[in-house]
Amino acid sequence: MLHTKIKNIKDRKLSIVEAEKFISSSDFGASIFFSGTVRNQNNNKSVIGITYDSHDSLVIKSFEEIYNEADKKLGIKDKAVFIEHAKGYLNLGEVSIIIAVACKHRDEAYILSRYIIEEIKKRSPIWKKEHYQNNEADWLKGNPIQYEKN
């Protein structure tokens, strides 16, 4: 069971309550909620906010691939996964991503939650532009996406 969405922050904020509603089931004995928030410091600079940009359809595709891989790579078949990522300008402390997972046992839930966020960082086309106190802003360098050159 999978829910994915890119939410334009102008329209609606990410909600842990919605995540909980989606994954809650008596089939599962363990739930993990991960949320990423905008922090006030990065690389010794005072951050006041972050603009998130996203290639929406490719990001959703990557979320689905990551979810499906959990069957094959991690052997976790029974699961509920909720992934939402924000798009647009976020102030300090606002939630940029929610990953909620529910599995039968806690070992699986911890592994799955960690796997999903690490794979998103590597594969999902999302970009951050940090805004600083002196009115400056910078796109973060990020990591090149892996692809076949030829």
């Binding site: 086309p125 990020g142 990591n143 692809y147």
Partner: protein, 109 residues
């Protein structure tokens, strides 16, 4: 009927070159959004061009418009490209008016 004066100045080769061109639309994301005030670039490329050629075309565009800004060049050289929600290789052949997206180095979460 007499030919207009401009017509006599165009060589056969020029006509061939003009006919041989097609358009590609590059959708901009992340750091590449700084390449233009618009959300995309529209470039003329030769028929049968590949992603490798498009990459060079974008570098030419940056050279003309941003005097070869080093950061922008790095972004282009480390970017992937995407068509119809698939990451495509450097040898991928572009079709006329195809919309492709440039995918600079990523880092969400």
């Amino acid at each position: 009927m007499e030919k207009p004066r401009w017509a006599s100045r165009i060589s056969k080769r020029t006509i061939l070159v003009i006919i041989n061109l097609m358009k590609v639309i590059i959708e901009l994301f992340g750091a590449s959004r700084d390449f233009s005030d618009q959300n995309s670039l529209e470039l003329d490329i030769e028929n049968g061009s590949s992603i490798k050629d498009v990459r060079n075309k974008i570098l030419d565009y940056l050279d003309i418009n941003f005097k070869g800004n080093e950061n922008f060049i790095k972004i282009v050289n480390s970017s992937a490209f995407c068509s119809n929600d698939n990451i495509i290789s450097d040898n991928y052949k572009i079709t006329n008016n195809e919309k492709i997206a440039i995918i600079p180095p990523i880092g969400g979460g």
